[in-house]
Amino acid sequence: MKKNVLLWTGAAMLALLLLIALLGPYLPFIDRNLKEVRFRMEDGHLNKAPYPLSWQNPLGSSKFGVDNLSRIVIGARVTLLIVFAVSVLRYAIGIPLGLLARRKRGAAHALLTWLNQLFSSVPALLMTVLLAAIPFFLYSGGRLYWMIGIMALVETGRVGYIVSQQAASISQESYMEAGRALGLRPLRLLKAYYIPALLPEMIVNFCLDLGKVLILIGQLGVLTVYLNPGSAEAGMNNEFEFVNTAHDWGSMISDHVSDLGVGRFASVMVPVCAIVYAVLAFNLLGEGLRRHFNGLGRGK
C-alpha cells in the first residue's frame, strides 16, 4: 500500500496542536497570566500598546498589551476542549438516534425528522446566533455549557440523518440477513454488525466535524457572539457591556475584530490563522483516515 501521506501529515499537525495545548502554557516565553501591559519603556521611550512584532511579542500584542502568542497558546486548550465537547455531544446523541431511526418509523424517527426540520429551517449559523441570544442563555452563568449544547444540537439532526441512512443501507446487506436468520438479539446485531460497519465512516465524519465546529466558533467570533458568560460591566447610558473573560480563539477574534476598522488587520489574523491551522489538521486527518479505511476495505 502506498504511504498515506495525508494521514501522517494530519496526525503530526494534530499532535503538535495537542502538545501546544498541553505543554504550551508552561513554556518559558509564554505569559501565563496574560498581563495587560498598556505602556512599556523601551530604549528610553515610552511605547503604547499594541506593540509591533519583536522578540518580546513574536506575534504582536493586543491593544491592551496582551501578548498574542501567549493568548493563542493559552487559548488552545480551552478551544480544543470546546470543539471536542461539541462534537462528542453531537455524535453521542446523533448515533443512537440515527440507529433507532433506521427503519424510518417510531419515536426516534419522528424526533429526528422534527430536529432536522426545526433546525434546517434557518441556516445553522443564524440558528445558533438566534438561540444564543435568548435571554435565558445570554445571561446564564453557565453560558459556555449552554452554548456547547446549542452548537451540538443544531447539527445533531444532520448526524442522525446520515447515521440512519447508512444503517438502513447496512440493513439491506446479505450478512445482516444472515445475522437475523441466526436469531441474534438486537444488541448483539448492533455490537457485531452495525457498529463495525458504521465505525470507519463515523470516525472520518467526526474528524471533519471537528473542523466544522471550529469554523463555527470562528464565525461566531467574527460576529462577536461570545461563548462564555463574560462579566457584565456598567457601560454608558445605564447599559451593560459584556466583557470577555475567556481566551478561546473565537472570543480572541471577537476581541480583535473591532480593530479591523482602525486598520489592525494582523491581530485578527493571528487567531484566524490558528483556526485555519487546526481546521486543516482535522481535515487532513479525516481525509487520511478515509483513505486508510478504504485501503483496508479493498485489502480484504
Binding site: 443564524l126 467574527v222 445605564n238 481546521v279
Partner: protein, 269 residues
C-alpha cells in the same frame, strides 16, 4: 434598591411574561394580518421583502456560478488525477473546501480596502460591485464543492458497460466523454442543488456582515439584536426574525423542489 433605574437582566425564565408577549404578538398578527413593526417603526413586510431582494440575486448568482465553474473544474480535476499534476487539481479543490470562509473573506476585504487603485468598492450598495463582489465570495465554496462532486461522479461512471460499448463502436473519446459520461454525471451533480443552496444561505451572513449590507441574513442577525452591549431598551425585532425565517424556508423549499426535479430526471434516465 437599585432596581428603580437600573434593571439588571438575569435571564430567568418568566413564563408569564413570555406568554403575554407571544399572546400580544399573535393577536396583532391575526387581527391586523401584519408581522408587526421594526425598531424604527416601519412595517415588517416591505423591510423583509427589501432584504430578500437584496440577497436573491447573490444567492442564485452564486448557485449558477457554482455549477458553471464547478463542473469544468471537476472535469479538469478528473483529467489531472492520472497525471503528476493531480495535486494541482484535486489538491486545490480540497484546500479551498477546507479553508474557513471568514479567512478568505477577511483577506479579500483587507486586499480590496488597501488597493483602492483597483477601483473596486468593497462596501458598494449599488453598481456592479454590489452584485459581483458578494456573488464571487459566496460562490467560492460551491465551485469547489461541485468540482469535487463532479470528479467523483465522473470517476464512478468510468468503466461502465455503456461507455465500453460506445468506445467499441468507435465513437471519438471526446464524444464519449461529453455525450455519455458527462450527461450522466451532470444529472447526479444536479442532485446536490439543495446542500449547495443551503450552504450559500449559511455563508451569506458573514459576507453581508463584513460588507455591512442588510440582506436577508444580516437583517435577521440585526433583528436578533445580539450585541455585547445589553441595553435596557430592547432592540429585538420579532417580526423581522419571523419574516426573514419565512424567507429562508421559502428559499429552502425552492432548492428542495429543484433538487427533487433533478433527482427525478436522473432516476428516469
Amino acid at each position: 434598591m437599585t432596581k428603580d433605574y437600573w434593571i439588571i437582566p438575569d435571564g430567568s425564565l418568566n413564563w408569564h411574561e413570555y406568554g403575554e408577549s407571544i399572546r400580544t404578538y399573535a393577536a396583532n398578527l391575526f387581527a391586523h394580518g401584519s408581522l408587526g413593526e421594526t425598531r424604527y417603526g416601519e412595517s415588517v413586510g416591505p423591510v423583509v421583502l427589501a432584504a430578500l431582494l437584496e440577497s436573491l440575486p447573490v444567492i442564485f448568482g452564486a448557485l449558477l456560478a457554482g455549477f458553471l465553474f464547478g463542473i469544468p473544474k471537476g472535469m479538469l480535476d478528473y483529467a489531472l488525477s492520472r497525471t503528476r499534476f493531480a495535486l494541482l487539481g484535486s489538491g486545490t479543490t480540497w484546500l479551498m473546501q477546507a479553508l474557513p470562509d471568514f479567512f478568505l473573506l477577511l483577506i479579500a476585504r483587507r486586499y480590496l480596502l488597501h488597493h483602492q487603485e483597483l477601483g473596486i468598492q468593497f462596501f458598494a450598495r449599488a453598481g456592479w460591485e454590489a452584485f459581483v463582489l458578494p456573488t464571487v465570495l459566496a460562490a467560492i465554496y460551491p465551485v469547489f464543492y461541485i468540482a469535487r462532486v463532479t470528479s467523483a461522479s465522473i470517476a464512478s461512471e468510468e468503466g461502465k458497460m455503456y461507455i465500453q460499448t460506445a468506445r467499441a463502436k468507435g465513437l471519438p473519446e471526446r464524444l464519449v466523454f461529453l455525450r455519455h459520461v458527462m450527461s450522466n454525471a451532470a444529472g447526479r451533480v444536479l442532485t446536490h442543488f439543495m446542500p449547495v443552496g443551503v450552504y450559500i444561505l449559511s455563508s451569506l451572513l458573514l459576507i453581508e456582515a463584513l460588507r455591512n449590507v442588510p440582506g436577508i441574513s444580516y437583517r435577521m442577525f440585526q433583528a436578533i439584536g445580539y450585541n455585547k452591549i445589553a441595553s435596557s431598551a430592547s432592540s429585538v425585532e420579532p417580526g423581522v426574525i419571523i419574516g426573514t425565517a419565512l424567507g429562508f424556508m421559502l428559499l429552502t423549499l425552492v432548492f428542495q423542489l429543484i433538487g427533487y426535479l433533478a433527482r427525478r430526471r436522473v432516476s428516469v434516465q
